[in-house]
């Protein structure tokens, strides 16, 4: 498999009002790879992730400049609604819609007028999210009756149903118990076959387990970026080493 980049950030600066949160970042999200973004709290990793699909537009003071190349266009100049159909997102806390499991998955494609067989779409999406066997007999029950881990996998299925190119995950396991966490990690492993994934995580073991590439952020700057094994076994930067060996953070 080649190391083709699906998204390339160049000279990306992100601001909240006067305060700069991300400084001059160059970062590639590689095709069919899992890229982990790690760093201590407040280092700008979530801010960066949410900028990739323009979810920060909802923060009134937010602004950014630079280039995010995606499918031959600059994400910063595109219509955010179009961007978000191609770059999906899974949030920190599971946030299924208070509708049935079935409708949670079909809602996205429906509002975009996708002409597909919805039964098939639901089945395939749930299978892709490793949830099908658990819910196939109760597709029309409320999504809120599911456990936290199941809800999060439903949110992944909902994202997958849009057939995005990239899936962004913002600490997707931080609200889950260890068993559910393992299931999501296995799932991320499988999803890489069809999607390119960027995942923000607090948990360094998780980054080591699931990712192919790791980017370490500190105080809004990208300190080090490389193959995960390299970052964890042989970091080039002192700060990276201090962080992954637990000396701060």
């Amino acid at each position: 498999m080649t190391n083709e980049a699906v998204m390339t950030c160049r000279n990306l600066n992100i601001f909240y009002g006067e305060k700069q949160a991300v400084f001059d970042v160059d970062l590639d999200i590689l095709k069919n790879k899992v890229t982990a973004i790690i760093g201590p709290s407040g280092c700008g990793k979530s801010t960066l992730l949410r900028s990739l699909n323009r979810m920060n537009d909802f923060v009134p003071t937010f602004s950014m400049n630079g280039v995010i190349n995606f499918e031959g266009k600059n994400v910063l100049k595109e219509d955010p609604m179009v961007v978000r159909t191609r770059i999906g997102m899974v949030f920190q806390k599971p946030n299924p819609f208070p509708k049935s499991i079935y409708n949670n998955i079909t809602w996205g494609p429906k509002i975009h007028g996708h002409k597909v067989n919805f039964d098939e779409l639901v089945e395939n999406s749930l299978k892709a999210a490793a949830l099908w066997d658990e819910v196939k007999d109760r597709l029309h029950d409320s999504a809120l009756d599911l456990s936290g881990g199941q809800q999060q996998r439903l949110c992944i299925a909902r994202t997958v149903a849009m057939k995005p190119e990239v899936i962004l995950m913002d600490e997707p396991c931080s609200a889950l118990d260890p068993r559910s966490t393992i299931r999501i990690e296995d799932l991320i492993n499988d999803l890489r076959e069809d999607y390119s994934i960027a995942i923000v995580t607090h948990n360094m073991q998780q980054a080591a387990r699931v990712s192919d590439y790791t980017a370490f952020f500190y105080e809004g700057e990208l300190i080090e970026y490389g193959v995960t094994d390299g970052i964890f076994t042989n970091p080039q930067e002192k700060k990276t080493e201090d962080y992954i060996t637990g000396r701060f953070g």
Binding site: M81, G88, F97, G108, R158
Partner: protein
């Protein structure tokens, strides 16, 4: 040390029973009132009372005109104020007017809720009755009452919309939804019970209003049911007011009968609001 505790416990007890007594005193007043009205009102309360026109002979008088006027007026008020109020609330919450203007609008809406109803009556008289030439019609009355309850609907709808978790909005936006789609598919359905509760309470307030309607020229003697929104009308509270202000005691019984009907309608509306709130209070927490 010990003495201090005993004194505090005593105070605690006194405070508790004082609160209890005060709570019950207001309930007691309501019970006495209801009992009194029930006593005086049941004399004329019958099917005939509900289906007769007003009359200068007490035994012939009824509240048919008042009931039909109230039904027309409230339906019309609901039809005007609900879309206006809910859409305003949606706009203020979801689209948000930035900066100073937004603040000013917000403060204004909140303040309007506190304006006395008679002031709305004068506004209605000047604008709807005279300026737009709608005369003493149902439409004038309904527009005036709509203005009166609009702030209440807006404020309560905004609260209900605010209570919709942002996580739901972001989840929908992340799928590429437009603001309109997020609002109509997710925000509104989740906020609906709260909005309905506010709307029903606002309408039950409108049902009891008298002052603004007197000013915009609702009549007290009407012997037909309205057939269009341009017809003249009367409403239950006005009919009650009219009877209560007559010197003959017999008419006071009629007034009490009217009050029973009005209270029954209002209490059942409030009851529906409470049921809606309780049935849906558990839903959607993320």
């Amino acid at each position: 040390m010990k003495d201090g505790f005993a004194a505090r416990k005593r105070k605690e007890k006194i405070f508790k029973y004082a609160c209890l007594a005060l709570t019950f005193s207001s309930v007691l007043i309501l019970v006495v009132l209801l009992y009194h009205i029930g006593q005086t009102g049941n004399k004329y309360l019958s099917l005939k009372f509900l289906t007769s026109w007003p009359s200068r002979f007490p035994h012939k008088a009824g509240i048919k005109a008042g009931i039909w006027g109230t039904i027309w007026l409230i339906s019309l008020t609901a039809a005007i104020s609900i879309p206006l109020g809910v859409l305003s609330a949606l706009f203020l919450e979801e689209y948000k007017i930035p900066g100073k203007i937004g603040k000013i609008v917000e403060i204004n809406v909140a303040n309007l809720a506190g304006v006395p109803s008679i002031v709305y009556g004068l506004l209605g008289l000047t604008v709807f009755v005279r300026y737009f030439g709608l005369d003493r019609s149902l439409l004038s009355g309904a527009l005036t009452l709509s203005l009166l309850i609009l702030p209440v609907i807006i404020v309560s709808s905004r609260e209900a919309i605010k209570a919709v978790p942002d996580a739901i909005r972001f989840g929908a936006y992340a799928l590429g939804a437009s603001r309109y789609q997020v609002v109509f598919w997710h925000v509104l359905p989740i906020a609906l019970p709260g909005i309905l509760t506010g709307v029903i309470l606002a309408l039950s307030r409108a049902i009891g209003e008298t002052a603004p309607l007197i000013i915009v020229g609702a009549l007290t003697y009407i012997s037909y049911t309205p057939e269009s929104v341009m017809d003249e009308f009367t409403v239950l509270p006005l009919q009650i007011y009219n009877w209560a202000s007559r010197p003959q005691e017999e008419f006071h019984y009629l007034a009490a009968g009217g009050i029973i009907v009005l209270l029954t309608v209002m209490l059942s509306m409030n009851f529906i609001a409470v049921v809606i709130r309780q049935k849906t209070s558990k839903k959607v927490k993320i």
